[in-house]
C-alpha cells in the first residue's frame, strides 16, 4: 500500500466535509420547519401581545427592552457611573451615539 498517509488525509478530509455538509443540511431542515411553523406563531404572539423586544436579558430595564430604553440608559442610575450590568457589555451602543461620535 503506497502513499498511505496522503490517502488517509484525503479520506479524513472527505469525512469531515461530509459531516459538515450533513450538519449544514440538518440545520437547514430544522430552519425550514421552524420558519414554516414556529416563526408565524411567534409573529402572532408579537402581534397579539404588542411585544417590542426579545425576553433575553431581564436584569435591567434597558437590557430587557433595548429598543425602548432611554437615550442614556446605562447611566440612568447615576450620571457618572460606569455600566455595571454584565449584559450591558454585550449590547452595543445605539446607532445615534456612534454616528454622533463619528461626526465629532
Amino acid at each position: 500500500m503506497i502513499l498511505l498517509k496522503a490517502r488517509a488525509f484525503i479520506a479524513v478530509t472527505i469525512i469531515q466535509v461530509i459531516v459538515l455538509a450533513g450538519l449544514v443540511t440538518w440545520s437547514a431542515g430544522i430552519a425550514k420547519t421552524r420558519n414554516a411553523k414556529e416563526i408565524p406563531q411567534k409573529r402572532k404572539l408579537v402581534q397579539r401581545l404588542e411585544l417590542t423586544d426579545l425576553a433575553i436579558w431581564t436584569e435591567a430595564r434597558y437590557t430587557r427592552h433595548p429598543s425602548q430604553a432611554d437615550f442614556f440608559a446605562p447611566f440612568q442610575d447615576g450620571p457618572s457611573s460606569l455600566e455595571h450590568f454584565p449584559a450591558g457589555s454585550v449590547v452595543a451602543a445605539p446607532d445615534h451615539l456612534r454616528v454622533a461620535a463619528a461626526d465629532r
Binding site: L3, L4, K5, A6, A8, F9, V12, T13, Q16, V17, V19, L20, L23, S27, A28, I30, A31, R34, N35, E38, I39, Q41, K42, R43, K44, L45, V46, Q47, R48, L49, E50, L51, T52, D53, L54, A55, I56, W57, T58, E59, R61, T63, R64, P66, S67, Q68, A69, D70, F72, Q76, F85, P86, A87, G88, S89, V90, V91, A92, P94, D95
Partner: protein
C-alpha cells in the same frame, strides 16, 4: 501522482513533529470554533429577531420626562388618531416586577380582551376574567406553577394579590415570553396603581408602511415631549445588539483572532534549525525550490484545512445542538430568568468563506514564507547553520 507523493511526504514530515503539530491543530481548531460559534450564533439570532419582530407595533409613542421614560396621557390618542393614514391607536399598560422570592425580574403586560386566544404557543388561554393571568415558562418554572395554580404577587400598596394561572406559554416561545406575566388591563392598572388616564405608552397602527416615518415625525411635532419609536428602529436595535461587531462578542472575537495572529506570526518569523536542515538536505538530494515550497504549502494546508473543518463542525454542534451553552455564562449576565438560546439555524455562507480565507490563507502563507527564505539559500550553508 507527484503531487500526492509530496503530500505524503508532507504528512510524514508533520508526523515527525507530531506533538507540536497536533498542539497547533488543537489550538487552531478551538480558535476557529469560537470565531465560527460567534458568527453563526449572532447571525441566527439577528435573523430570528428580524423575522419575529415584523409584527411589532408600527409606532410606539413614549413620553419622556426629564430625559426618562414616563407615563403618557391617554388624551393624546384622539389627536394621534386624526393624523391621516393612522389606523388603530391604543394605550399599552406594562411594567416590571421584582420577585423577591426568586430574585427574578418579570415583565407584566396588560391585555384588552383575553379568552381563547388562537395562539398555538399558549397552553390554556389568555386572561379574560378578573384576577387571572397567563405566564411565561420561565416564570412557571421559577415559581413551580401549572395551569390552575395561583400566582401571588405583591402590588404597589404592598398587599399580596392572588391571580389564577389560566395559561402558560410553551418553552418554544421563551425568547419572547420567558419572563412575561399577562393580565387583563384593569388588573394591571390596579396592581401597579397607575393613575387614571395614564398609560405606559401608546401603540399606533399605520396603514401604509412607507408613511410610518412621516406619522412618527408628525407625532413628535405635535407632542414634543414624546418619543415615537418605529418598528424599523426596533429591528435595527436588534441588528446592532446581535452584530458580531458589538460589545462582549467583539471582545471574544478579537481575542480569538489575536490568538491566531500570534500563532501565524510565530510561524512566519522563523523555522526551527531542524526544519532548515531538512530543507538543506532536500535541496542537496535534488529537490528544487518549487518542490520545497509545494511541500510547505501542503504542510500548511493539512494543518489549516483540518483545523478549519473540525472548528466548523464543533461550532455547529455547539450552537445548534448544545444551544451555545458555553457562551451562556458570558451572555446571560445577572439575569435570573434567562431563556435557552434555542436559535433557528441561519447560516451565512459568506461569513464562513470569509472565516476560511482569514484563517487558511494567512496560515499557509506564514508556513511558506520562512521556508522560501531557507529554500533559496545555499544548501550547504543551510545545513551547517
Amino acid at each position: 501522482m507527484c503531487r500526492l507523493k509530496i503530500l505524503d511526504y508532507a504528512i510524514s514530515s508533520l508526523w515527525r513533529r507530531r506533538f507540536k503539530n497536533l498542539s497547533i491543530i488543537a489550538v487552531f481548531t478551538i480558535m476557529i470554533a469560537v470565531l465560527a460559534s460567534i458568527l453563526v450564533l449572532t447571525h441566527s439570532l439577528r435573523m430570528e429577531a428580524k423575522k419575529i419582530l415584523l409584527d411589532a407595533p408600527d409606532v410606539v409613542v413614549q413620553r419622556l420626562s426629564a430625559g426618562r421614560h414616563d407615563l403618557i396621557s391617554e388624551s393624546l390618542i384622539d389627536t394621534i388618531r386624526e393624523i391621516p393614514g393612522v389606523g388603530e391607536v391604543s394605550p399599552r399598560y406594562w411594567g416590571y416586577y421584582f420577585d423577591a422570592l426568586t430574585g427574578g425580574n418579570y415583565t407584566l403586560i396588560g391585555l384588552e380582551g383575553g379568552g381563547s386566544s388562537g395562539l398555538s404557543m399558549l397552553e390554556g388561554e389568555l386572561p379574560s376574567a378578573v384576577a387571572c393571568c397567563a405566564i411565561g415558562s420561565g416564570v412557571a418554572s421559577a415559581r413551580q406553577l401549572e395551569i390552575g395554580d395561583e400566582l401571588v404577587l405583591i402590588d404597589s400598596r404592598n398587599i399580596g394579590v392572588t391571580f389564577d394561572v389560566v395559561g402558560i406559554f410553551v418553552s418554544e416561545s421563551d425568547i419572547l415570553t420567558n419572563d412575561l406575566v399577562v393580565f387583563g388591563n384593569d388588573d394591571l392598572i390596579e396592581f401597579f396603581g397607575l393613575p387614571d388616564g395614564l398609560a405606559t405608552d401608546i401603540s399606533v397602527q399605520v396603514y401604509n408602511e412607507k408613511e410610518v416615518p412621516i406619522v412618527a415625525a408628525k407625532i413628535k411635532r405635535s407632542f414634543p415631549e414624546t418619543r415615537p419609536i418605529t418598528r424599523s428602529e426596533i429591528i435595527r436595535t436588534y441588528d446592532a445588539v446581535f452584530s458580531w461587531r458589538s460589545g462582549m462578542l467583539l471582545t471574544m472575537f478579537f481575542a480569538a483572532l489575536l490568538a491566531f495572529c500570534i500563532l501565524a506570526w510565530d510561524k512566519a518569523t522563523g523555522i526551527s534549525a531542524e526544519e532548515k536542515r531538512e530543507i538543506g538536505i532536500l535541496k542537496a538530494i535534488g529537490w528544487g525550490t518549487g518542490d520545497i515550497l509545494e511541500l510547505k504549502f501542503w504542510e500548511g494546508i493539512v494543518i489549516s484545512v483540518t483545523s478549519l473543518l473540525l472548528g466548523l463542525i464543533l461550532a455547529f454542534l455547539h450552537v445548534f445542538v448544545f444551544d451555545a451553552s458555553l457562551f451562556a455564562a458570558v451572555v446571560n449576565g445577572w439575569s435570573v430568568l434567562f431563556p435557552k438560546f434555542r436559535v433557528t439555524p441561519d447560516v451565512d455562507l459568506y461569513q464562513i468563506f470569509v472565516l476560511a480565507s482569514l484563517t487558511v490563507v494567512p496560515y499557509v502563507a506564514s508556513t511558506i514564507f520562512p521556508s522560501w527564505k531557507a529554500a533559496i539559500a545555499d544548501p550547504e550553508e543551510v545545513m551547517r547553520t
